[in-house]
Every structure is written in C-alpha cells, then in structure tokens.
C-alpha cells in the first residue's frame, strides 16, 4: 500500500530524511516514532505530496505521489497536526466539500456524512460555523473528513493532540476496526503508549535515519535489556549517546 524507496530529503545543507526504504502492507497500522527533528513530519509531508523527495520515490497503491499526485491522493485520508478548516463553513458544509472533492456520488456522500457525524459525535455542532469550534472539535471534524471516501491509506500526524479521552477512545476503536477491514494507517506520534497498544509495527527515526523497524516485541529482543516498557526501549534507542546494551 505504501512504499518508500530509498527516499532522501534535504533542506539546504541539512538532510532531514536519509535513504528511507519502507513498505507497509494493506491493513497494517504503522507508528513512526522519534524525537523532535528526527524527520517524522518530513516523511509524512512527502507521503501526502506536500514535499517532494530530493532522491528516491514514494508510491501509494502503486501511484507515485510526485508524478501522479491526484491518483495517489484519491486513496489517501490525511489528518494533519494542525487542523485546517474554512472558518465560514459549517462542519457539515466542510464535509460536503470534501466528499464532492473526492467525487463521491451525492446519495452515498449523504449517508457517509451522517455516518461520520454520528461516529465522531459531531451532531451537536455540525451546523455551526467552524470558526466557533475548539481545537478538539476541529480535530474530530478533520478525522471525519479524512474518512469520508473510505481511503485505502490513512495518514495521521500527531492525531491525538487536542482530543479529550472519550474522543481518543473513539479514534482508537475506529482505527482498529478500519485496519481490520483493510485500511492501512501511517501514524506519527509521540504518544508511546498508543503506539505500543495499537501499532502492528513501529519505526523509530533518529536524525533522519530509520534506526529500528519491527514489532515492539522485536524491539525488546533487539535491545535485549531489562527495560520492558516501550518508553524505556525508545529512550535507549534515541539517546544522543547511541544504543547502550
């Protein structure tokens, strides 16, 4: 579903992502971890086509995100770290705009919009202008919008920021259900507990390089320490002094 093929991205003289190769199959929930400035957001921006790789290529459902951006975007739902909405549109109008953009037939769009409004409990404020929404409400609306077209790939950049515990639970349940149905999730997060609880595989990036790729269990075996929680393993792996077995 998602293929990073020797992807490198530079910012001037600085290399943000170095030779990233990664394949994420259908139905997998992949969590990308790493300290600030490790290259997680750069990887996500390249995945959704906002940034072009300096070298290498990225494919979503077989479509190159640089040369076939529209075909690739058709399969992607994206929840950015900072939700962007139109202040002067209501939540429902925003959902209609996104549904129309994805060319969803009107009758189907109506039922999908109702489905997402119900799922994310947006009903109470769906017809208010989004300028009056709190950060959590905006984030829930963006989640709803990203799922309207039942994407094959869902890309999440720090998805839980601003969500209350109930909304976090809703999102977690929803991601679990959708991945079971075949949706692939690519998520960047600092919330280690969530990665540990939900991810099929985790990737740990440090200074632009993928230092680890595998399951949490494999990470434990590789680090072979007394450390048992993902937090301790993560701190060991991302320590500025390198791995200390």
């Amino acid at each position: 579903m998602i293929e990073f093929d020797h992807v490198t991205r530079t910012y001037g003289a600085k290399t943000a992502v170095t030779d990233l190769s990664l394949a994420i199959p259908r139905g997998e929930l992949f969590a990308l971890l790493g300290p600030n400035g490790a290259g997680k957001t750069t990887s996500i921006k390249m995945l959704v086509g906002l940034l072009h790789p300096s070298r290498g290529s990225i494919r979503i459902c077989g479509h190159d995100v640089v040369s076939e951006p529209r075909a690739a975007h058709l399969h992607v739902g994206y929840v950015p770290d900072e939700p962007c909405l139109y202040d002067k549109l209501t939540g429902r109008e925003f959902l209609w705009f996104i549904a129309d953009m994805f060319g969803i037939p009107r009758h189907l769009a109506r039922s999908r919009i109702d489905r997402e409004i119900e799922c994310f409990e947006l009903g109470e404020f769906a017809d208010d202008l989004s300028e009056s929404y709190s950060l959590g409400m905006k984030q829930r609306l963006v989640f709803a919008a990203s799922l309207l077209h039942d994407p094959s790939v869902l890309v999440l950049d720090e998805p839980m920021v601003g969500l209350d515990p109930r909304s976090v639970r809703i999102v977690k349940d929803l991601l679990a259900a959708r991945t079971r149905e075949g949706m692939t999730v690519f998520m960047s997060t600092h919330t280690l507990a969530m990665a540990e609880e939900m991810a099929d595989r985790v990737g740990i990036m440090v200074r632009g390089r993928l230092r680890f790729l595998g399951t949490v269990m494999e990470l434990r075996e590789q680090v072979a320490l007394e450390a048992t929680s993902l937090e301790q393993l993560y701190l060991q792996l991302t320590s500025p002094h390198g791995l200390r077995p």
């Binding site: 959704v48 075909a71 058709l74 399969h75 962007c84 139109y86 994805f102 039942d150």
Partner: protein, 589 residues
C-alpha cells in the same frame, strides 16, 4: 447508515469542469457567510463603509467632472496621455499586488496546504486563488477608476454604449496584469526559490526609482511655470513613453476614448464603436491567453514550487538591542522602570513586525513625498493656509487609521499573555499608560515632522506653523487616548488577530470617534484663521460686516478657537483614558 465499501471504491477523479464548479460553489458560500456575518455582527461598520464609499465615489466623480471639463477646454489631447500614464502605472501596481496576493494565497495559506492533499488539479487551485487575488487587487481600481471613467463619459457627452462597455473593459484589463503577476509568482517560486526575495526587491526597486524619478522631474519645476503651456509640454514629453501601442494600458485608454466618441448629432458613432470593440476584443483575447498560460504553468510548476518553499530552512534571526531600548532600560533608576520596560517590549514587537512598520513607512512616506512637492505650485495666502489645515487633517486621519488598526488592539492582544503580566509586580494602570505613551510618542514624531514640512513648503508664516504644530500635538494626544481608552474599555481577550479586533464594534467606534475628533479640531482651529486671512485679503467689509463672524475672524476669535481646541483635545485624551483605566482595573480575565 450505509454499509462499508471496499476502501476508496466510491471515490473518483473529477473532470476539470466539475472541479471548477465546486470551487465556485465554495467561493459563493464563503462570500455569502462572510456578508451574512458582517450584516449580523458589524452593521455599524458595514453602513459606515457603504456610506463613506458612496461619499468617496461621489466626491471623486465631482472632482473628475471638473478636471475633464477643464482639460477638455484647455488641452484636449492631454486626456489620452493622462489615461495612458494612469493605466500604465496601474498595470505595474496590479502585477505586483496580484503577484504578492497569489504568493500568500498559493504558498503560505493553510488552505493551500489542505487543497494540495486532495485529488484536485494544481491549475484548479491556481484558478481559485487567482480569482481571489484579482478581486483584492482590482477592487481599488474599480472604486477609483469608475468615477473617473463615468465622469469622463459625462463630460464628453458619451452615449449609452460607452457606459455599457466600461465594466467589461475594466475587468478584461485588470485580468492581464493579474495573470502576469501570477505567472511571475509561480515561475519565481518554482525556479528561483532562493532568489525570489532578491528578484522581487530588485523589481520593486526599479519600479519605485522610475516612479520617483518621473515624479521628481515632473513636479520639481520652477513655481511660476505650473499649469502653463510650457509646463504641459514638459509633462507631455516625460509621459510620452506610456503611449506604447503594445501595452494593455494603451488598448484600454484607446477603447475608452473611442467608446466615448459621438457623431455630430450626439449619437454613438458606429465607426468609433467598432474601434472600441476591437480594443475590448484585444484585451479579452490577451487576458484569456495569459490566463491559459498561467494555468499551464501552475499545472507544471505549482506543486514543485510549493515543495521548494516547504523545504526552506527558516533562518535563525538574532536580534540586537536597539539604541532606544538601551536608553530606556539602561538606567537603574526605579522610577518608571516597569513603564519603560513595557514600552521597550511594545517597541520591539513593532520593530520586528514588518507589516506594522512597512505600512507606517509607506503611508507617511507617500505623504512626505506629496508635501515635499507642494513647493511646485503657486498659492494664494488664503488657499495656502487652507491647504495647510487640510494637510493637518490628512495627517490626523492617517494616524487615526494606525491607532485604530495597531494601537486599539494592543490591550486585547495582551489577553493571551495576561498570565505573564498578571504575575508581574506591575499595576494594571501602568500597562494602559505604557500603551498610551508608546502611541503618543510614536505618532507625534512623524506627524509633527510632516506638518512642519507641509507648512514650510507652503511658505506659511511662523504663527500658523506654531498653531498647526500645537493642533498636531493635540491630535496625537487625543487619538492615542481614544484608541488606548476604548481598547481598555472593550478588550477582546480571546481574539488573537489584530485585524479582527480592530474591525469589530469597538474598532469601528474608535475610528468614527477619531474621525469626528479630527474634524472638530481642524474646523475649530481653521475657521477663525481662514476668516482672518480672508478679511485681510478682501477687506473686513466683504467677509464679515459685523457680529459673530467679525469677532470670530479677529484676534479674540483666534484665541477662543485655540482655547476650544485645547479643551476638546484634552477631553478626548482624558475621558477615554479614565474610562479605560477604570474598566481595566476591574477586568477579570
């Protein structure tokens, strides 16, 4: 609820027309909601804007009717030259403004970040943003240009086809520089991302130097020469380069002149109308070609340019301490220290916000240029005095827009930082006083300089310069008092956008009160002086035979007007400030 389908199966790529329709619908909804919110929430502001725009339009129309009648009678062929000069300079300005607006809209807005992750064509996003930029860049032309062109038609006695053709001519013309601005913007960002600022600065520099050189050579002539035949010939020679047949400005000017032409019987001339249609077609054809070119360029280079910009590493900016900062915070004296520190903080924020000082510089710079060129014309003493007072009013009005836009929101903007200020050992009064002093001193220096420059160029006597400087001092005090006082009385602590704060009810009230205050001060100060000078020029018997007018035009009247102006000025300063201080002390955050 619908059953779940295979991921992505219901989604499909839209044809170009469907994408365009979607964006048109989006724009229509956004405009409708914005207008509805304005009608519901800012009726005062909306009414004011409508009334003032109407008055502005009518005043411009009257002025242009007079100007065209005068030019038609004295120098008939000057109109074509003036149109060409006006439209060609407008072309340059529209290229820049559309380019800048498109840069902000396409590359720096959160909306473009959203749209670029959707399955939509790059050229459709460009078209969406292009319409927005064209509207923002072109509405000024419509507001300024329509009274001029309607007045031209009326002065020439043009028939109805002229008025029907005006709008299509104007729209087709505006589209050409806007598309050029778009092409330059996309090309610069895609292929010269690192040099875009240099390229833009060089282009702006060349345009400014050319404009200033032209202005200088046209206006810095001997005073006795102004408006004479020699003056017109000199002016013609300098502006002749704008009459190039390959320029869209020439097509527009020629189209307008031909459309206004009538036969001897006063009916529209078929030949002239044919010519006008030819120029309209030329404008429309070029506009469409340039839009196609810009759309193609967007398809090829928009996403690449966006990625280039996103890939830029923001430079870390180290800031040094300014001289004024050192003077204000350097002293160890405890007296007024919190006040001084607060002023230094505001000064630093002002200095580091380019949008604030750039606007300040542009408006006061243009005003300075105009005042500097006042020497070029001959004035009768009475009119020189009147122009001096009008200039004082203009300086005050510009200052009032700054106090409303930047000073009024200052207290509200502290709302998000109130937890810092609230924990400091600073009395709330000092926060208000620091804003007042910052506004007063910051306004007084450029305003007093401009007023004195204007009076010197007009050759006014020392007493009048002193009076104008005193009025300027009162205006700065009063305008600062109104803006800071109302800002403290009606703070919007949850709002982070200064433009939204200043465009609300409080901001509008601040602008209205400021304008009224300026009018009262200038009229009360100007009337006795004007009557006094008229009486001295024409004789007291002609102006005010007896009674109140004679008294008002005399020494006692002048003294009374100064006293009245002082009272009004001090009241405008003290009353809002006291109200604001009291409200701010009681404010619960």
């Amino acid at each position: 609820m619908s059953g779940r389908t295979v991921p992505g199966e219901a989604a499909r790529l839209l044809p170009l027309e469907a994408e365009a329709r979607l964006f048109l619908r989006l724009r229509a909804t956004l405009v409708w909601e914005t207008v509805r919110a304005m009608v519901a929430g800012s009726r005062l502001r909306l009414s004011l804007v409508a009334v003032l725009s109407g008055l502005f339009w009518a005043a411009l129309y009257g002025l242009f009717v007079e100007a065209f009648s005068f030019l038609e009678a004295l120098h008939a062929d000057v109109i074509s030259l003036l149109f060409n000069a006006f439209f060609s300079s407008l072309t340059v300005m529209l290229v820049f403004s559309a380019g800048i607006l498109l840069y902000g809209g396409m590359y720096r807005s959160p909306e473009s970040r959203l749209l670029l992750t959707l399955p939509v064509r790059a050229e459709t996003i460009f078209a969406h943003k292009f319409r927005e930029a064209m509207w923002f860049a072109g509405w000024g032309f419509v507001l300024l240009g329509s009274p001029m062109l309607v007045a031209y038609g009326m002065a020439r006695g043009a028939a109805w086809p002229f008025f029907l053709m005006l709008l299509p001519l104007m729209i087709a013309f505006v589209t050409i520089p806007a598309a050029l601005g778009g092409i330059c913007c996309i090309a610069l960002v895609a292929w010269l991302p690192r040099l875009r600022l240099h390229a833009f600065s060089i282009a702006v520099g060349v345009a400014c130097v050319t404009g200033i050189w032209l202005g200088w050579t046209l206006l810095t002539q001997p005073r006795a020469d102004a408006m004479s035949a020699a003056w017109f010939e000199h002016t013609f020679a300098h502006l002749a380069f704008t009459e190039q047949k390959l320029l869209p400005s020439w097509w527009l000017a020629s189209g307008i002149i031909e459309a206004a032409r009538t036969g001897r019987d006063g009916r529209p001339s078929a030949a002239a109308l044919g010519e006008a249609f030819k120029f309209l077609s030329l404008l429309v054809a070029n506009s469409l070609v340039l839009q196609l070119l810009a759309g193609w360029l967007a398809r090829v280079a928009y996403r690449r340019g966006y990625s280039n910009l996103m890939g830029e590493v923001p430079a870390r900016r180290r800031r040094s301490t300014g001289l004024i900062d050192r003077v204000l915070i350097g002293s160890d004296a405890a007296v007024g220290r919190p006040l001084r520190l607060l002023i230094v903080k505001d000064l630093r924020l002002f200095r580091r916000d380019i949008s604030q000082w750039a606007q300040f510089l542009i408006f006061f710079g243009l005003l300075g240029l105009y005042f500097f060129n006042l020497r070029s014309f001959n004035y009768h003493n009475t009119y020189a005095s009147m122009i001096g007072f009008l200039n004082l009013a203009v300086v005050g009005l510009i200052l009032s827009t700054f106090t409303t836009r930047f000073v009024y929101p200052m207290i509200s903007l502290e709302g998000r930082r109130f937890w810092i200020l609230g924990l400091l050992p600073v009395h709330r009064d000092q926060i208000v006083w620091s804003k007042f002093l910052f506004s007063f001193i910051g306004g007084l220096l450029p305003c007093a300089g401009l007023v004195i420059l204007s009076d010197s160029m007009l050759g006014l006597p020392g007493r009048l310069i002193l009076l104008h400087a005193y009025c300027c001092l009162l205006l700065c005090l009063g305008l600062s008092g109104i803006a800071v006082g109302l800002g403290a009385r009606m703070p919007e602590l949850r709002e982070s956008s200064p433009s939204k704060i200043s465009s609300g009810f409080g901001g509008t009230l601040c602008l209205v009160l400021s304008s009224l205050f300026i009018m009262v001060v200038v009229i009360v100060a100007a009337l006795p002086t004007h009557l006094f000078l008229l009486a001295r020029t024409l004789g007291p018997a002609v102006v005010a035979p007896d009674g109140l007018l004679a008294w008002a035009g005399g020494t006692m009247g002048a003294a009374a007007s100064v006293a009245a102006v002082s009272v009004v000025g001090l009241a405008a300063t003290a009353v809002p400030l006291l109200v604001g201080l009291r409200a701010f002390r009681r404010l619960e955050t």
